[in-house]
Amino acid sequence: MPTIQLFEYLLRLGDNCLILSQRLSEWCGHGPVLEEDIALTNIALDLLGHARFWLSYAGEVEGAGRDEDKLAFLRDAGQFRNVLLVEQPNGDYAMTTARQFFFDAWHLHLLNALGRSSDSRVAAIAEKAAKEVTYHLERSTDWVIRLGDGTPESHRRMQAAVDEMWIYTGELFEMDAVDVEMVQSGIGVDLATLQSRWTEHVEKTFGEATLQIPAENWMQQGGKRGLHGEKLGYLLAEMQFLQRAYPGAQW
């Protein structure tokens, strides 16, 4: 069992869910309509549940006495392993929708593949999470179509959001040494193989939504290695404040 690589891999899975969950929870009480406020916070809750499963397991694999809470609240930005897409600020509703749609379409295929992992705990978490993420993707796909094929104003904003988020989608399929090691041990997934199915779903949805896939093909990368944008620091400052100011606080 390649312990360090597995720990790293589980951090990536957990941090993606944790950071996106935190971003979505920023909408709590600010949703454009009550139903969407409820939807986004419910999705945030699902993702928080997934983050807890992954980070608990990561803590056990590391064996250094760090549990899910220590990993979530006591690491600095450079130690987070989430992809850059999930840390992008909420922006307007189109930005939040584009970010969610690109992530959900990838997340579902990833989890379906991880459901066949040689590591039974990874497979169990993935199989459980995939049921919930199936529903996330149905919702975000509906909203991309509704906003893209809506009014001239919603179409303009949705296209602008797609253009803005696009450069963060390449990292989803990037394979590095950790990914290769995890594929070889039968635990992980070859991310490059997910790309065609992801692209197929995006193209089909954009067709209905009358949106254009951006021509830009330069992709921003680095989140998986701990190279994050400045805004992640602000997110962590809010998320971690209590445990930083009052170490070990419980209620």
């Binding site: 419910n42 809750l45 499963f53």
Partner: protein
């Protein structure tokens, strides 16, 4: 320590009395959150296996506390609660009686995943009309969606097939 060890059947009965904190018309056994009850051979330790409905469901902590409290009340001091994720929870495990109680409570029950009714909307739990409309895929809890009845015009929660 209890003088006579309660049987597994008795313990199931006790757990049947614990209501779900979000949907009190259902017990935690109706929801199939309790997956297994066993006495650990050779020890006087009870092992209760539970599974979460939705991954982030905040009711799970309250449910675990209730199980601990109930077992203690019945004199079982040595309890191990095991959380099992596989096979993942499904609404197919819910009994017909539980579904009927949900309907009477005003929540449209989940449909069986084996019966594929051409994506038909759930019938209104108030007036029974099949003419209903999805308002939002998410409701007051992760397990429910929000619908509106086009006949009696009342909004209602529907338990999602999962």
């Amino acid at each position: 320590m209890v003088a006579v060890q309660p049987t597994v059947a008795e313990i199931w009965k006790w757990l049947e009395a614990i209501a779900d904190p979000e949907i009190p018309v259902l017990s935690i056994t109706d929801l199939a959150i309790v997956r297994d009850i066993q006495w650990n051979a050779g020890e006087d330790k009870l092992v209760v296996t539970i599974t979460p409905t939705y991954s982030g469901c905040p009711a799970m902590d309250a449910i675990a506390d209730e199980i601990r409290r109930s077992m203690k009340e019945h004199g079982i001091d040595r309890l191990e609660l095991v959380t099992k994720l596989s096979p993942p929870w499904t609404t197919d495990w819910m009994s017909d009686q539980a579904k009927q109680r949900l309907r009477e409570y005003g929540i449209a029950p989940p449909r069986d995943s084996l019966v594929q009714i051409e994506e038909a909307n759930p019938a209104c739990p108030q007036c029974g009309s099949p003419q209903t409309k999805l308002i939002s895929r998410y409701g007051s809890t992760p397990c429910k969606a929000l619908y509106k009845c086009l006949s009696c015009l009342e909004p209602f929660d529907a338990f999602k097939r999962h």
